[in-house]
């Protein structure tokens, strides 16, 4: 039960509709997205440089170096979509990202952290942090990366799929637990 989980392509598409629609005619959707720019075509509200800066913000807020750009692109997609329906949000994000400077995307991480720390109390920062936390860890790409297996009802739960497979500590005496309801 220790093996990493692979992303089911259909599941991925279900969760990323909108972002990847139209892009997945051939090849791996991740590869297409990871090449950069491809996700930008779906932006409704922000310019490509703004989108790139927001990507850099999300990556600085929740830095997982080996997590694919596609997972971060979903965050930007969600903010872009909300901002297209919410003028206040659009303004907050546009002004916030503008204030970070045109070279934010190419700055070193240490400098990006410094710049973000300065604006931490702002609505821009707090919105970006919340949205990043909400969206980044909720996609099948993140599930796969962090090893999270998600819903289990459709697979019969974890009862026979590793809920008690930990072997590096002593077993719990039966008096303090209970027997398995089925063989196994």
């Amino acid at each position: 039960m220790d093996q990493p989980i692979t992303v089911d392509r259909r599941e991925l598409l279900k969760a990323t509709t909108g972002l990847l629609a139209g892009l997945v005619v051939t090849g791996s959707p991740l590869a297409l997205v990871a090449r950069g720019r491809a996700w930008a075509v779906d932006l409704k509200t922000f310019t490509t440089p703004e989108g790139a800066a927001l990507m850099a913000v999300a990556r600085t807020l929740m830095p997982h170096d080996k997590l694919d750009d596609a997972a971060y692109a979903l965050v930007i997609q969600a903010i872009d979509s909300e901002a297209s329906k919410d003028e206040n949000l659009r303004k907050t994000i546009k002004e916030g990202v503008g204030a970070l400077g045109a070279d934010f995307t190419t700055r070193k991480e240490r400098e990006r952290v410094e710049l973000l720390t300065k604006v931490e109390p702002s609505g821009f920062f707090q919105t970006m942090r919340l949205k990043t936390v909400q969206v980044l860890y909720a996609s099948p790409i993140a599930y796969a990366y962090f090893g999270y297996e998600g819903e289990a009802f459709s697979k019969g739960g974890y009862l026979l799929r590793g809920f008690n497979d930990l072997r590096w500590l002593p077993e719990v005496p039966l008096d303090d637990s209970g027997a398995m309801p089925v063989g196994g």
């Binding site: 830095p63 909720a138 999270y148 009802f153 637990s177 209970g178």
Partner: protein, 522 residues
Amino acid sequence: MAHIEHKDAGAVVIIGSGAGGGTLAHELTRRGMKVVLLEAGKRQSQETFSQVPGEAFVQLTWLDARTQSGNWGVARDFPTLPAWHCKTVGGTTVHWTASTPRLEPWELRAKSTYGDIASTSLIDWPIAYEELEKYYQLAESRMVVTRRNGVPGLPASNNFKVMHAGAKKLGYKRVHTGHMAINSRASDGRGFCIQQGFCVQGCKMGAKWSTLYTEIPRAEATGNLDLRVEATATRIEHGANGRVNAVVYRDSAGRELRQRARLVCVAGNAIETARLLLLSSSSKFPQGLANSSGQVGRNYCHQITGFVWGIFDKPVYSWRGATLAGVVEDEVVNDPQRGFVGGYRIELLALDLPTLPLVGLPYGWGRDFASIMESYRNMAGMFINGEDLPRSDNRVTLNSAVKDQHGLPVANIHVDEHANDQAMRKHAQGQMSKMYDAVGAKRIVLGPTPPATHNLCTARMSADPRDGVTNAFGQAHDIKNLFISDGSALSTPGAANPTLTIVALALRQAEYIAAQAKARNI
């Protein structure tokens, strides 16, 4: 299912279909009483429960606007969500984690046991443990609680193995997979727990007791229940004699309707129950219904909570398995030597990946925050469930500056933590940290206080009518045919997760209502 006319003045109206309201509806209808059950939320089922955590949250949670104030961590960390309970048929029994411990006898004598503690409004319960005990037994049998009545315990999950090993290293003795209203074997027409780890999203197995698929369908089968969904009670009305006689509510289209009532039982969860009583003020009851004491909304308790995560160098996969199936009960004692009164439970806990960073981890960002998330596989989790002390000014009030979708003032929840609460949390997080240290944790992360899931005591039972809102049967001191049937009625919270006590009190209240109705006293 019965159809009860709006003009039918013979009906019992119950507001809320959770642990208290759903159980009461079954108990009254099976005794032949006609019941209109008003539920603000929609009806879901084992088929419709979403297994996407974010969707399930929206599907089940009470998300109407609320405000909050006070120095508790929730106001800082979750400004728009002071409490996390449900708005759906079955109420909070749809998302609960099904831990069903009993209160201890001394917890029902909180004031006598703890003595005079400054800045608290402690009272003793008007019921002795010995009286409550038989209803606990009934409730445990009804809910098929594990490790009671010969029902086997749940098997040990990975997350519990870590907890158990750590607890034993510290010398704790009462450590087990908990008294849980989760089938360890098929029972009650419901299947057994297959360890999905999706208790909070609605149990698709139905292994976890919920009024949604136990009490409510049984009440419907009597032919005496008229369940109305998306029916939001906005006001309880009374006659010149001071007895309540109708409930005004809005249907899904926002239309205002009025159901006449012989008696009214309020079970809308402690925040909404208090709000509804306050919203129902009249020239006769200018402070709100049942509020001549001024106690409605006061003494709000939510139990002390807080997460502790242990990060290890080997996998735990904490999400696999029943979310809360593990407990250490050794700290459920009153030992002021620890620096506080009252007790706490240490309970097992895991959070799914999307929910962990939103609810379970302290505010943060950057490399440090990300490094915790990177350890998700190797993380074990626990949290505290401890007794908080009632304070008169910790209360639910109406906030007229903010209106809900019906144009009514929302509830404001104000909580200033007592020094006792803080000392208890510190002690508990210290003990939990030691447990994880003892089994080799590489890092320990103390989480925030999450939005309150146990909302209690805002219309409490009291022997003296000046101290509370109802008598020992949840019957309003001021109004004979008005009852409180949810966690609002608890006199003090104790350290037990409250649902079993709410169900036990509902079973007892149903007996009382039936007897009083038969004797034509109400």
